[in-house]
Protein backbone atom coordinates (compact mmCIF):
# COMPACT_ATOMS: atom_id res chain seq x y z
CA UNK A 1 0.00 0.00 0.00
CA UNK A 2 1.30 3.41 -0.95
CA UNK A 3 0.53 6.07 1.60
CA UNK A 4 2.06 9.22 2.89
CA UNK A 5 1.72 11.99 5.39
CA UNK A 6 1.88 15.48 4.01
CA UNK A 7 1.25 18.58 6.09
CA UNK A 8 -1.98 19.85 4.68
CA UNK A 9 -4.57 22.20 5.95
CA UNK A 10 -8.23 22.18 5.11
CA UNK A 11 -9.38 25.56 3.82
CA UNK A 12 -13.00 26.52 3.33
CA UNK A 13 -12.76 28.02 -0.14
CA UNK A 14 -16.18 27.83 -1.77
CA UNK A 15 -19.07 29.01 0.32
CA UNK A 16 -22.45 27.40 -0.11
CA UNK A 17 -23.85 30.20 -2.36
CA UNK A 18 -20.88 29.82 -4.69
CA UNK A 19 -21.35 26.09 -4.88
CA UNK A 20 -25.07 26.43 -5.45
CA UNK A 21 -24.41 29.01 -8.15
CA UNK A 22 -21.94 26.66 -9.81
CA UNK A 23 -24.28 23.69 -10.02
CA UNK A 24 -27.35 25.67 -11.00
CA UNK A 25 -25.23 27.29 -13.66
CA UNK A 26 -23.89 23.94 -14.86
CA UNK A 27 -27.40 22.55 -15.07
CA UNK A 28 -28.73 25.61 -16.89
CA UNK A 29 -25.86 25.71 -19.37
CA UNK A 30 -26.28 22.02 -20.15
CA UNK A 31 -30.02 22.34 -20.65
CA UNK A 32 -29.66 25.59 -22.60
CA UNK A 33 -27.03 24.17 -24.93
CA UNK A 34 -29.00 21.01 -25.64
CA UNK A 35 -32.35 22.75 -26.14
CA UNK A 36 -30.66 25.64 -27.96
CA UNK A 37 -28.97 23.28 -30.34
CA UNK A 38 -32.27 21.53 -31.01
CA UNK A 39 -33.98 24.87 -31.63
CA UNK A 40 -31.24 25.88 -34.04
CA UNK A 41 -31.24 22.53 -35.81
CA UNK A 42 -34.45 20.66 -35.10
CA UNK A 43 -34.45 16.94 -35.55
CA UNK A 44 -37.09 15.21 -37.62
CA UNK A 45 -38.70 13.02 -35.02
CA UNK A 46 -42.20 12.97 -36.37
CA UNK A 47 -44.05 13.46 -39.59
CA UNK A 48 -47.16 12.39 -41.33
CA UNK A 49 -49.28 13.74 -38.54
CA UNK A 50 -51.24 16.86 -37.79
CA UNK A 51 -49.94 19.71 -35.67
CA UNK A 52 -52.92 19.36 -33.38
CA UNK A 53 -51.55 16.21 -31.78
CA UNK A 54 -48.23 17.40 -30.47
CA UNK A 55 -46.26 20.29 -29.10
CA UNK A 56 -42.74 18.93 -28.58
CA UNK A 57 -40.89 21.76 -30.28
CA UNK A 58 -42.86 24.29 -28.28
CA UNK A 59 -41.94 22.38 -25.14
CA UNK A 60 -38.25 22.42 -26.05
CA UNK A 61 -38.46 26.17 -26.51
CA UNK A 62 -40.34 26.54 -23.25
CA UNK A 63 -37.63 24.65 -21.38
CA UNK A 64 -35.02 26.84 -23.07
CA UNK A 65 -36.77 30.02 -21.95
CA UNK A 66 -37.35 28.87 -18.38
CA UNK A 67 -33.71 27.80 -18.07
CA UNK A 68 -32.69 31.15 -19.50
CA UNK A 69 -34.53 33.02 -16.76
CA UNK A 70 -32.97 30.79 -14.12
CA UNK A 71 -29.55 31.22 -15.70
CA UNK A 72 -29.95 34.98 -15.77
CA UNK A 73 -31.00 35.41 -12.16
CA UNK A 74 -28.35 32.95 -11.04
CA UNK A 75 -25.80 35.05 -12.88
CA UNK A 76 -27.14 38.23 -11.30
CA UNK A 77 -26.81 36.58 -7.90
CA UNK A 78 -23.21 35.55 -8.61
CA UNK A 79 -22.39 39.11 -9.59
CA UNK A 80 -23.77 40.27 -6.26
CA UNK A 81 -21.76 37.60 -4.47
CA UNK A 82 -18.66 38.99 -6.12
CA UNK A 83 -19.08 41.91 -3.75
CA UNK A 84 -20.47 40.09 -0.74
CA UNK A 85 -18.70 36.74 -0.69
CA UNK A 86 -15.38 35.63 0.77
CA UNK A 87 -11.98 36.59 -0.58
CA UNK A 88 -11.94 33.77 -3.12
CA UNK A 89 -15.20 34.76 -4.73
CA UNK A 90 -14.67 38.52 -4.82
CA UNK A 91 -14.70 40.39 -8.12
CA UNK A 92 -11.03 41.46 -7.98
CA UNK A 93 -9.93 37.85 -8.43
CA UNK A 94 -11.43 37.81 -11.90
CA UNK A 95 -10.04 40.96 -13.42
CA UNK A 96 -6.25 40.95 -13.69
CA UNK A 97 -5.50 44.54 -12.79
CA UNK A 98 -2.45 43.79 -10.68
CA UNK A 99 0.98 42.92 -11.89
CA UNK A 100 1.20 39.84 -9.72
CA UNK A 101 -1.96 38.47 -11.32
CA UNK A 102 -0.36 38.76 -14.75
CA UNK A 103 2.78 37.12 -13.40
CA UNK A 104 0.70 34.21 -12.17
CA UNK A 105 -1.08 33.99 -15.51
CA UNK A 106 2.31 33.61 -17.22
CA UNK A 107 3.33 31.05 -14.61
CA UNK A 108 0.20 28.99 -15.09
CA UNK A 109 0.71 29.00 -18.85
CA UNK A 110 4.26 27.74 -18.39
CA UNK A 111 3.51 25.24 -15.67
CA UNK A 112 0.14 23.80 -16.53
CA UNK A 113 -0.50 24.51 -20.18
CA UNK A 114 2.92 24.21 -21.81
CA UNK A 115 4.43 22.17 -18.97
CA UNK A 116 7.88 23.62 -19.48
CA UNK A 117 8.36 24.70 -15.89
CA UNK A 118 7.99 22.79 -12.68
CA UNK A 119 6.66 24.46 -9.66
CA UNK A 120 3.41 24.71 -7.86
CA UNK A 121 0.93 27.47 -8.33
CA UNK A 122 0.11 28.81 -4.91
CA UNK A 123 -3.38 30.20 -5.40
CA UNK A 124 -5.82 28.79 -2.92
CA UNK A 125 -8.94 29.78 -4.87
CA UNK A 126 -8.86 30.03 -8.63
CA UNK A 127 -5.47 30.66 -10.16
CA UNK A 128 -5.19 33.97 -12.01
CA UNK A 129 -5.50 32.46 -15.48
CA UNK A 130 -8.59 30.49 -14.53
CA UNK A 131 -10.10 33.60 -12.96
CA UNK A 132 -9.46 35.59 -16.08
CA UNK A 133 -11.02 32.90 -18.25
CA UNK A 134 -14.04 32.96 -15.92
CA UNK A 135 -14.21 36.68 -16.40
CA UNK A 136 -14.35 36.12 -20.15
CA UNK A 137 -17.12 33.58 -19.65
CA UNK A 138 -19.00 36.16 -17.57
CA UNK A 139 -18.79 38.52 -20.53
CA UNK A 140 -20.10 35.72 -22.75
CA UNK A 141 -22.89 35.08 -20.20
CA UNK A 142 -23.83 38.72 -20.42
CA UNK A 143 -23.78 38.76 -24.22
CA UNK A 144 -25.81 35.56 -24.30
CA UNK A 145 -28.41 37.11 -21.99
CA UNK A 146 -28.48 40.28 -24.09
CA UNK A 147 -28.94 38.46 -27.39
CA UNK A 148 -31.27 35.82 -25.97
CA UNK A 149 -33.63 38.16 -24.19
CA UNK A 150 -33.31 40.58 -27.09
CA UNK A 151 -34.81 37.97 -29.41
CA UNK A 152 -37.30 36.93 -26.75
CA UNK A 153 -38.52 40.51 -26.33
CA UNK A 154 -40.41 40.30 -29.64
CA UNK A 155 -42.76 37.72 -28.17
CA UNK A 156 -43.00 39.00 -24.65
CA UNK A 157 -44.51 42.00 -22.98
CA UNK A 158 -42.85 41.46 -19.63
CA UNK A 159 -40.37 44.06 -18.49
CA UNK A 160 -37.26 41.91 -18.20
CA UNK A 161 -36.96 40.91 -21.87
CA UNK A 162 -38.04 44.43 -22.84
CA UNK A 163 -34.98 45.76 -21.07
CA UNK A 164 -32.87 43.91 -23.63
CA UNK A 165 -34.89 44.89 -26.70
CA UNK A 166 -32.38 47.58 -27.69
CA UNK A 167 -29.79 44.99 -28.68
CA UNK A 168 -31.79 44.06 -31.79
CA UNK A 169 -31.60 47.46 -33.54
CA UNK A 170 -28.08 47.86 -32.15
CA UNK A 171 -26.93 44.78 -34.05
CA UNK A 172 -29.04 45.67 -37.08
CA UNK A 173 -31.82 43.11 -36.74
CA UNK A 174 -32.78 39.69 -35.45
CA UNK A 175 -30.67 37.89 -38.04
CA UNK A 176 -27.36 39.04 -36.63
CA UNK A 177 -28.62 38.68 -33.05
CA UNK A 178 -29.52 35.06 -33.64
CA UNK A 179 -26.22 34.39 -35.41
CA UNK A 180 -24.27 35.85 -32.49
CA UNK A 181 -26.38 33.91 -29.98
CA UNK A 182 -25.64 30.71 -31.87
CA UNK A 183 -21.90 31.36 -32.15
CA UNK A 184 -21.66 32.14 -28.45
CA UNK A 185 -23.32 28.82 -27.65
CA UNK A 186 -20.20 27.18 -29.02
CA UNK A 187 -18.19 29.26 -26.57
CA UNK A 188 -20.10 27.54 -23.75
CA UNK A 189 -19.54 24.09 -25.23
CA UNK A 190 -15.81 24.60 -25.76
CA UNK A 191 -15.46 26.09 -22.29
CA UNK A 192 -17.24 23.13 -20.70
CA UNK A 193 -14.97 20.62 -22.41
CA UNK A 194 -11.79 22.38 -21.32
CA UNK A 195 -13.15 23.18 -17.85
CA UNK A 196 -14.03 19.57 -17.04
CA UNK A 197 -10.71 18.33 -18.36
CA UNK A 198 -8.75 20.85 -16.31
CA UNK A 199 -10.60 19.86 -13.15
CA UNK A 200 -9.42 16.29 -13.70
CA UNK A 201 -5.95 17.55 -14.52
CA UNK A 202 -5.61 19.67 -11.40
CA UNK A 203 -7.05 16.99 -9.18
CA UNK A 204 -4.52 14.55 -10.58
CA UNK A 205 -1.50 16.85 -10.41
CA UNK A 206 -2.13 18.90 -7.31
CA UNK A 207 -4.20 16.43 -5.28
CA UNK A 208 -5.89 19.21 -3.40
CA UNK A 209 -9.34 17.71 -3.84
CA UNK A 210 -10.40 20.34 -6.35
CA UNK A 211 -13.25 18.22 -7.74
CA UNK A 212 -14.93 17.61 -4.40
CA UNK A 213 -14.24 21.18 -3.32
CA UNK A 214 -17.15 22.28 -5.50
CA UNK A 215 -19.34 19.84 -3.61
CA UNK A 216 -18.11 20.24 -0.06
CA UNK A 217 -16.47 23.64 -0.26
CA UNK A 218 -13.17 22.57 1.36
CA UNK A 219 -9.83 22.21 -0.30
CA UNK A 220 -6.61 20.64 0.99
CA UNK A 221 -3.89 23.24 0.86
CA UNK A 222 -0.23 22.73 1.71
CA UNK A 223 0.58 24.15 5.11
CA UNK A 224 3.37 26.42 3.90
CA UNK A 225 1.09 27.89 1.24
CA UNK A 226 -1.53 28.68 3.84
CA UNK A 227 1.13 30.19 6.10
CA UNK A 228 2.41 32.40 3.31
CA UNK A 229 -1.10 33.37 2.37
CA UNK A 230 -1.85 34.42 5.93
CA UNK A 231 1.37 36.43 6.25
CA UNK A 232 1.07 38.00 2.84
CA UNK A 233 1.25 41.73 3.03
CA UNK A 234 3.04 43.09 -0.01
CA UNK A 235 2.99 41.64 -3.50
CA UNK A 236 -0.50 40.47 -4.19
CA UNK A 237 -2.84 41.66 -1.50
CA UNK A 238 -5.71 39.60 -2.76
CA UNK A 239 -7.28 39.45 0.63
CA UNK A 240 -8.75 42.03 2.85
CA UNK A 241 -8.20 39.90 5.94
Amino acid sequence: MRSRTIPMREVHVWELPVRLYHWINALCVTVLCITGFIIGRPIAISSGTEAYFQYWFGTVRFIHFVSAFLFFFNFVFRTYWGFAGNEFSRWYNFIPLKKCQWKEIMDVIKVDILQVKHKQIDSIGHNSLASFIYFITFVIFLLQCLTGFGMYSAMSSSFLPKMFAWIVPFLGGDMSVRQLHHILMWGFILFAIVHVYLVFYHDYIERRGITSSMIGGWKFIEEDVVERHNNETEDCPKTTK
Binding site: R4, I6, P7, P42, S46, K119, Q179, I183, W186, Y197
Partner: protein, 370 residues
Protein backbone atom coordinates in the same frame (compact mmCIF):
# COMPACT_ATOMS: atom_id res chain seq x y z
CA UNK B 1 -54.40 77.87 -60.49
CA UNK B 2 -52.19 76.96 -57.57
CA UNK B 3 -54.36 78.71 -54.97
CA UNK B 4 -56.43 75.66 -54.07
CA UNK B 5 -55.21 72.11 -54.33
CA UNK B 6 -58.07 69.64 -54.76
CA UNK B 7 -58.49 67.14 -51.94
CA UNK B 8 -58.23 63.37 -52.41
CA UNK B 9 -61.95 63.01 -52.29
CA UNK B 10 -62.58 65.73 -54.85
CA UNK B 11 -60.11 64.12 -57.19
CA UNK B 12 -61.53 60.66 -56.59
CA UNK B 13 -65.04 61.95 -57.21
CA UNK B 14 -64.03 63.55 -60.45
CA UNK B 15 -62.53 60.19 -61.44
CA UNK B 16 -65.91 58.56 -60.99
CA UNK B 17 -65.27 56.84 -57.65
CA UNK B 18 -68.48 56.62 -55.69
CA UNK B 19 -68.95 57.90 -52.16
CA UNK B 20 -69.47 54.31 -51.05
CA UNK B 21 -66.15 53.15 -52.50
CA UNK B 22 -64.44 56.13 -50.98
CA UNK B 23 -65.77 55.27 -47.53
CA UNK B 24 -64.81 51.62 -47.98
CA UNK B 25 -61.28 52.71 -48.75
CA UNK B 26 -61.17 54.92 -45.65
CA UNK B 27 -62.41 52.06 -43.49
CA UNK B 28 -59.89 49.60 -44.88
CA UNK B 29 -57.06 52.08 -44.32
CA UNK B 30 -58.22 52.56 -40.73
CA UNK B 31 -58.10 48.81 -40.23
CA UNK B 32 -54.63 48.57 -41.74
CA UNK B 33 -53.34 51.35 -39.55
CA UNK B 34 -54.88 49.83 -36.46
CA UNK B 35 -56.98 52.88 -35.76
CA UNK B 36 -60.08 52.46 -33.65
CA UNK B 37 -63.54 52.69 -35.12
CA UNK B 38 -64.04 56.37 -34.31
CA UNK B 39 -60.85 57.18 -36.21
CA UNK B 40 -62.44 56.30 -39.53
CA UNK B 41 -64.22 59.63 -39.45
CA UNK B 42 -60.88 61.37 -39.06
CA UNK B 43 -59.56 59.69 -42.16
CA UNK B 44 -62.69 60.52 -44.13
CA UNK B 45 -62.50 64.13 -43.07
CA UNK B 46 -58.81 64.39 -43.86
CA UNK B 47 -59.20 62.93 -47.31
CA UNK B 48 -62.21 65.14 -47.96
CA UNK B 49 -60.72 68.41 -46.89
CA UNK B 50 -56.97 68.36 -46.90
CA UNK B 51 -55.20 69.32 -50.08
CA UNK B 52 -53.16 66.58 -51.65
CA UNK B 53 -49.72 65.96 -50.31
CA UNK B 54 -46.90 67.52 -52.28
CA UNK B 55 -44.54 64.65 -52.89
CA UNK B 56 -41.23 64.29 -54.63
CA UNK B 57 -40.46 60.68 -55.38
CA UNK B 58 -36.86 59.87 -56.23
CA UNK B 59 -35.44 56.75 -57.81
CA UNK B 60 -31.83 56.09 -57.02
CA UNK B 61 -30.03 52.73 -57.10
CA UNK B 62 -33.01 50.43 -57.26
CA UNK B 63 -35.14 48.19 -59.45
CA UNK B 64 -38.45 50.11 -59.20
CA UNK B 65 -40.11 47.15 -57.53
CA UNK B 66 -41.43 49.48 -54.82
CA UNK B 67 -43.30 51.53 -57.42
CA UNK B 68 -44.42 48.33 -59.10
CA UNK B 69 -45.75 47.08 -55.82
CA UNK B 70 -47.49 50.35 -55.01
CA UNK B 71 -49.39 50.59 -58.28
CA UNK B 72 -50.62 47.04 -57.77
CA UNK B 73 -52.28 47.90 -54.49
CA UNK B 74 -55.57 46.14 -54.07
CA UNK B 75 -57.87 49.13 -53.83
CA UNK B 76 -58.40 51.35 -56.90
CA UNK B 77 -58.07 54.47 -54.80
CA UNK B 78 -54.58 53.41 -53.79
CA UNK B 79 -53.54 53.31 -57.40
CA UNK B 80 -55.22 56.63 -57.71
CA UNK B 81 -53.18 58.05 -54.90
CA UNK B 82 -49.92 57.18 -56.51
CA UNK B 83 -50.85 57.73 -60.13
CA UNK B 84 -52.84 60.90 -59.89
CA UNK B 85 -52.74 62.42 -56.49
CA UNK B 86 -49.49 62.48 -54.66
CA UNK B 87 -46.69 61.52 -56.89
CA UNK B 88 -47.14 63.34 -60.10
CA UNK B 89 -45.16 66.29 -58.88
CA UNK B 90 -42.09 64.25 -59.56
CA UNK B 91 -41.81 60.51 -60.07
CA UNK B 92 -39.23 59.52 -62.59
CA UNK B 93 -40.89 56.31 -63.67
CA UNK B 94 -44.47 57.48 -63.94
CA UNK B 95 -44.31 61.16 -64.75
CA UNK B 96 -45.05 62.36 -68.24
CA UNK B 97 -42.48 65.10 -68.22
CA UNK B 98 -38.87 64.43 -69.07
CA UNK B 99 -35.57 66.25 -69.20
CA UNK B 100 -35.51 69.84 -68.05
CA UNK B 101 -39.28 69.91 -67.61
CA UNK B 102 -39.04 67.05 -65.12
CA UNK B 103 -36.25 68.74 -63.20
CA UNK B 104 -38.31 71.89 -63.09
CA UNK B 105 -41.26 69.98 -61.66
CA UNK B 106 -39.55 68.94 -58.47
CA UNK B 107 -37.75 72.22 -58.09
CA UNK B 108 -41.12 73.92 -58.32
CA UNK B 109 -42.48 71.74 -55.51
CA UNK B 110 -39.49 72.56 -53.34
CA UNK B 111 -39.91 76.26 -53.97
CA UNK B 112 -43.67 76.29 -53.51
CA UNK B 113 -44.08 74.11 -50.41
CA UNK B 114 -40.97 74.46 -48.25
CA UNK B 115 -41.38 72.50 -45.03
CA UNK B 116 -44.55 70.85 -46.34
CA UNK B 117 -43.57 68.45 -49.03
CA UNK B 118 -42.63 64.84 -48.44
CA UNK B 119 -39.58 63.29 -50.05
CA UNK B 120 -40.06 59.65 -50.92
CA UNK B 121 -37.02 57.67 -51.89
CA UNK B 122 -36.66 54.39 -53.68
CA UNK B 123 -33.15 53.07 -53.82
CA UNK B 124 -29.83 53.45 -52.08
CA UNK B 125 -27.31 56.22 -52.48
CA UNK B 126 -23.76 55.50 -53.67
CA UNK B 127 -21.08 57.09 -51.55
CA UNK B 128 -17.95 55.28 -52.75
CA UNK B 129 -18.10 57.33 -55.92
CA UNK B 130 -21.16 59.51 -56.19
CA UNK B 131 -21.00 59.31 -59.98
CA UNK B 132 -22.44 55.77 -59.85
CA UNK B 133 -25.90 57.30 -59.71
CA UNK B 134 -26.48 60.63 -61.41
CA UNK B 135 -29.69 62.23 -62.58
CA UNK B 136 -29.69 65.38 -64.67
CA UNK B 137 -25.96 65.75 -64.15
CA UNK B 138 -26.11 65.71 -60.39
CA UNK B 139 -25.38 62.86 -58.02
CA UNK B 140 -28.05 61.06 -56.02
CA UNK B 141 -26.46 62.32 -52.82
CA UNK B 142 -26.58 65.95 -53.94
CA UNK B 143 -30.15 65.66 -55.10
CA UNK B 144 -31.33 63.97 -51.92
CA UNK B 145 -29.51 66.35 -49.60
CA UNK B 146 -30.94 69.34 -51.38
CA UNK B 147 -34.49 67.98 -51.46
CA UNK B 148 -34.43 66.74 -47.86
CA UNK B 149 -33.30 70.09 -46.49
CA UNK B 150 -36.77 71.66 -46.56
CA UNK B 151 -38.81 68.47 -46.53
CA UNK B 152 -41.36 67.74 -43.85
CA UNK B 153 -40.33 64.12 -43.69
CA UNK B 154 -38.53 61.53 -45.74
CA UNK B 155 -40.09 58.20 -46.56
CA UNK B 156 -37.57 55.51 -47.43
CA UNK B 157 -39.38 52.97 -49.58
CA UNK B 158 -38.12 49.45 -49.48
CA UNK B 159 -34.98 47.74 -48.34
CA UNK B 160 -32.68 49.78 -50.64
CA UNK B 161 -33.58 53.09 -49.09
CA UNK B 162 -33.98 51.63 -45.60
CA UNK B 163 -30.96 49.36 -45.38
CA UNK B 164 -29.14 49.26 -48.71
CA UNK B 165 -30.52 45.95 -49.96
CA UNK B 166 -28.62 44.13 -52.69
CA UNK B 167 -26.48 47.08 -53.70
CA UNK B 168 -25.10 47.31 -50.17
CA UNK B 169 -24.51 43.57 -49.94
CA UNK B 170 -20.90 42.53 -49.60
CA UNK B 171 -18.64 43.71 -51.21
CA UNK B 172 -20.84 46.77 -51.83
CA UNK B 173 -18.89 48.09 -54.82
CA UNK B 174 -20.69 51.44 -54.98
CA UNK B 175 -20.56 52.08 -51.26
CA UNK B 176 -24.35 52.11 -51.30
CA UNK B 177 -25.93 53.63 -48.19
CA UNK B 178 -29.52 53.82 -47.04
CA UNK B 179 -31.24 57.18 -46.67
CA UNK B 180 -30.75 57.43 -42.91
CA UNK B 181 -26.99 57.19 -43.33
CA UNK B 182 -26.93 60.05 -45.81
CA UNK B 183 -29.26 62.62 -44.31
CA UNK B 184 -29.90 63.56 -40.74
CA UNK B 185 -32.12 65.89 -38.77
CA UNK B 186 -35.28 64.88 -40.64
CA UNK B 187 -37.90 62.36 -39.61
CA UNK B 188 -37.25 59.26 -41.70
CA UNK B 189 -39.76 56.48 -42.12
CA UNK B 190 -38.27 53.19 -43.21
CA UNK B 191 -40.93 51.23 -45.03
CA UNK B 192 -39.10 47.94 -45.23
CA UNK B 193 -39.47 45.10 -47.66
CA UNK B 194 -38.27 44.17 -51.09
CA UNK B 195 -40.68 45.53 -52.11
CA UNK B 196 -42.91 46.72 -49.27
CA UNK B 197 -46.50 45.51 -49.36
CA UNK B 198 -48.60 47.90 -51.44
CA UNK B 199 -51.27 48.32 -48.79
CA UNK B 200 -48.60 49.15 -46.26
CA UNK B 201 -47.28 51.88 -48.54
CA UNK B 202 -50.79 53.25 -49.01
CA UNK B 203 -51.35 53.09 -45.27
CA UNK B 204 -48.25 55.22 -44.64
CA UNK B 205 -49.43 57.83 -47.13
CA UNK B 206 -52.91 57.95 -45.64
CA UNK B 207 -51.46 58.26 -42.16
CA UNK B 208 -49.23 61.15 -43.18
CA UNK B 209 -52.18 62.89 -44.72
CA UNK B 210 -54.72 62.22 -41.99
CA UNK B 211 -52.72 62.98 -38.92
CA UNK B 212 -50.16 65.41 -40.30
CA UNK B 213 -47.42 63.60 -38.48
CA UNK B 214 -45.33 60.55 -38.99
CA UNK B 215 -46.66 57.24 -37.70
CA UNK B 216 -45.28 55.67 -34.55
CA UNK B 217 -41.92 54.11 -35.37
CA UNK B 218 -39.86 51.35 -33.84
CA UNK B 219 -36.15 51.52 -33.04
CA UNK B 220 -35.27 50.92 -36.67
CA UNK B 221 -37.67 53.70 -37.78
CA UNK B 222 -40.22 51.28 -39.18
CA UNK B 223 -43.92 52.06 -38.65
CA UNK B 224 -45.02 49.98 -35.68
CA UNK B 225 -48.42 49.35 -37.17
CA UNK B 226 -46.89 47.14 -39.83
CA UNK B 227 -43.51 46.01 -38.52
CA UNK B 228 -43.98 45.21 -34.85
CA UNK B 229 -44.56 41.51 -35.30
CA UNK B 230 -42.50 38.81 -36.87
CA UNK B 231 -43.70 36.96 -39.95
CA UNK B 232 -43.26 33.88 -37.77
CA UNK B 233 -45.71 35.10 -35.12
CA UNK B 234 -48.49 35.65 -37.62
CA UNK B 235 -47.74 32.65 -39.80
CA UNK B 236 -50.59 30.26 -40.40
CA UNK B 237 -48.03 27.40 -40.36
CA UNK B 238 -46.90 28.34 -36.86
CA UNK B 239 -48.74 25.41 -35.28
CA UNK B 240 -46.49 23.06 -37.23
CA UNK B 241 -43.44 24.83 -35.85
CA UNK B 242 -44.56 24.34 -32.27
CA UNK B 243 -45.47 20.75 -33.03
CA UNK B 244 -42.02 20.12 -34.48
CA UNK B 245 -43.37 19.26 -37.90
CA UNK B 246 -40.92 20.48 -40.51
CA UNK B 247 -40.55 20.31 -44.25
CA UNK B 248 -37.28 18.43 -44.81
CA UNK B 249 -37.14 18.89 -48.57
CA UNK B 250 -39.32 20.70 -51.05
CA UNK B 251 -40.84 17.55 -52.47
CA UNK B 252 -41.52 15.57 -49.33
CA UNK B 253 -44.76 14.65 -47.61
CA UNK B 254 -44.31 17.50 -45.12
CA UNK B 255 -44.20 20.04 -47.93
CA UNK B 256 -47.48 18.68 -49.30
CA UNK B 257 -49.05 18.84 -45.88
CA UNK B 258 -47.96 22.43 -45.40
CA UNK B 259 -45.54 21.86 -42.53
CA UNK B 260 -43.28 24.58 -41.17
CA UNK B 261 -40.54 25.75 -43.56
CA UNK B 262 -38.06 26.57 -40.75
CA UNK B 263 -35.55 23.93 -41.82
CA UNK B 264 -35.80 25.06 -45.44
CA UNK B 265 -34.23 28.33 -44.36
CA UNK B 266 -37.34 30.29 -43.50
CA UNK B 267 -36.35 33.68 -42.09
CA UNK B 268 -39.83 34.28 -40.68
CA UNK B 269 -38.58 34.02 -37.09
CA UNK B 270 -36.16 36.91 -37.63
CA UNK B 271 -38.23 39.06 -39.95
CA UNK B 272 -40.62 41.83 -39.01
CA UNK B 273 -43.35 42.40 -41.57
CA UNK B 274 -47.08 42.05 -42.16
CA UNK B 275 -46.97 39.43 -44.90
CA UNK B 276 -48.81 36.90 -42.78
CA UNK B 277 -51.74 39.26 -42.21
CA UNK B 278 -52.10 41.67 -45.11
CA UNK B 279 -50.56 39.29 -47.65
CA UNK B 280 -49.91 40.19 -51.26
CA UNK B 281 -51.81 40.78 -54.46
CA UNK B 282 -55.12 41.70 -52.99
CA UNK B 283 -54.64 39.39 -50.02
CA UNK B 284 -54.30 36.28 -52.15
CA UNK B 285 -51.14 34.74 -50.77
CA UNK B 286 -47.63 35.34 -49.51
CA UNK B 287 -44.40 33.38 -49.97
CA UNK B 288 -44.88 30.92 -47.11
CA UNK B 289 -48.46 30.24 -48.15
CA UNK B 290 -47.10 29.43 -51.60
CA UNK B 291 -44.68 26.91 -50.10
CA UNK B 292 -41.52 28.97 -50.14
CA UNK B 293 -39.58 30.02 -47.05
CA UNK B 294 -39.47 33.70 -46.15
CA UNK B 295 -36.15 35.18 -47.30
CA UNK B 296 -36.30 38.03 -44.79
CA UNK B 297 -36.50 40.78 -47.40
CA UNK B 298 -37.60 43.39 -44.88
CA UNK B 299 -34.51 42.95 -42.71
CA UNK B 300 -31.23 44.80 -43.04
CA UNK B 301 -28.48 42.76 -44.65
CA UNK B 302 -30.71 39.87 -45.72
CA UNK B 303 -28.52 39.20 -48.75
CA UNK B 304 -25.44 38.80 -46.60
CA UNK B 305 -27.27 36.63 -44.10
CA UNK B 306 -27.78 33.96 -46.72
CA UNK B 307 -27.98 31.40 -48.18
CA UNK B 308 -31.74 31.71 -48.48
CA UNK B 309 -32.33 28.01 -47.93
CA UNK B 310 -30.29 27.75 -44.77
CA UNK B 311 -31.85 29.31 -41.74
CA UNK B 312 -28.65 30.20 -39.92
CA UNK B 313 -26.38 32.37 -42.02
CA UNK B 314 -23.10 31.14 -43.39
CA UNK B 315 -19.98 32.66 -41.92
CA UNK B 316 -18.05 34.96 -44.14
CA UNK B 317 -14.47 34.08 -44.94
CA UNK B 318 -15.03 30.35 -44.54
CA UNK B 319 -16.87 29.68 -47.79
CA UNK B 320 -20.56 29.81 -48.55
CA UNK B 321 -21.55 26.56 -46.91
CA UNK B 322 -19.73 27.11 -43.64
CA UNK B 323 -22.01 27.62 -40.68
CA UNK B 324 -21.28 28.40 -37.06
CA UNK B 325 -22.03 24.75 -36.31
CA UNK B 326 -19.34 23.46 -38.66
CA UNK B 327 -16.76 25.81 -37.22
CA UNK B 328 -17.90 25.02 -33.70
CA UNK B 329 -17.65 21.30 -34.32
CA UNK B 330 -14.19 21.77 -35.82
CA UNK B 331 -13.08 23.74 -32.80
CA UNK B 332 -14.60 21.10 -30.55
CA UNK B 333 -12.60 18.36 -32.26
CA UNK B 334 -9.47 20.51 -32.13
CA UNK B 335 -10.05 21.09 -28.42
CA UNK B 336 -10.51 17.41 -27.78
CA UNK B 337 -7.30 16.69 -29.69
CA UNK B 338 -5.48 19.36 -27.72
CA UNK B 339 -6.78 17.87 -24.48
CA UNK B 340 -5.69 14.39 -25.50
CA UNK B 341 -2.20 15.68 -26.32
CA UNK B 342 -2.08 17.60 -23.06
CA UNK B 343 -3.20 14.57 -21.08
CA UNK B 344 -0.50 12.44 -22.69
CA UNK B 345 2.21 15.00 -22.00
CA UNK B 346 0.93 15.38 -18.44
CA UNK B 347 1.29 11.69 -17.83
CA UNK B 348 4.65 11.35 -19.50
CA UNK B 349 6.18 14.30 -17.68
CA UNK B 350 4.46 14.20 -14.37
CA UNK B 351 3.62 10.64 -13.64
CA UNK B 352 7.07 9.98 -12.24
CA UNK B 353 7.09 13.19 -10.30
CA UNK B 354 3.81 12.32 -8.67
CA UNK B 355 4.60 8.73 -7.84
CA UNK B 356 8.01 9.71 -6.50
CA UNK B 357 6.65 12.46 -4.35
CA UNK B 358 8.22 12.49 -0.87
CA UNK B 359 6.35 10.32 1.48
CA UNK B 360 6.61 12.54 4.49
CA UNK B 361 7.31 16.09 5.50
CA UNK B 362 7.25 18.93 3.03
CA UNK B 363 5.63 18.59 -0.31
CA UNK B 364 7.16 18.96 -3.71
CA UNK B 365 9.79 21.63 -3.75
CA UNK B 366 7.86 24.70 -4.58
CA UNK B 367 8.62 27.33 -2.02
CA UNK B 368 11.38 29.13 -3.87
CA UNK B 369 9.41 30.92 -6.47
CA UNK B 370 6.27 32.95 -6.28
Amino acid sequence: MENKQPSFYEEAKSDGISRKDFLKFCASMAVLLGIENSGVGQIVKALETKPRLPVIWFHFQECTCCSESFIRASHPIVANIVLDKISLDYQETLMAASGAAAEDAYKAVMAKYPGEYIVMVEGSIPTENEAYCCIGGRSAKQILEEAAKNAKAVVAWGNCASAGCVQAASPNPTGAQPVHKVISGKPIINVQGCPPIADVMAGIVVHLLTFDRIPQLDALNRPKAFYSRRVHDTCYRRANFDAGLFVESFDDEGAKRGYCLYKMGCKGPVTYNSCGIIKWNDGISYPIQSGHPCIGCSEAGFWDNGPFYQHLPGIEGFGIETTADKIGLGLGVATAAGIAAHAIVTNVRKHKEITNAPETATTIDNSKES
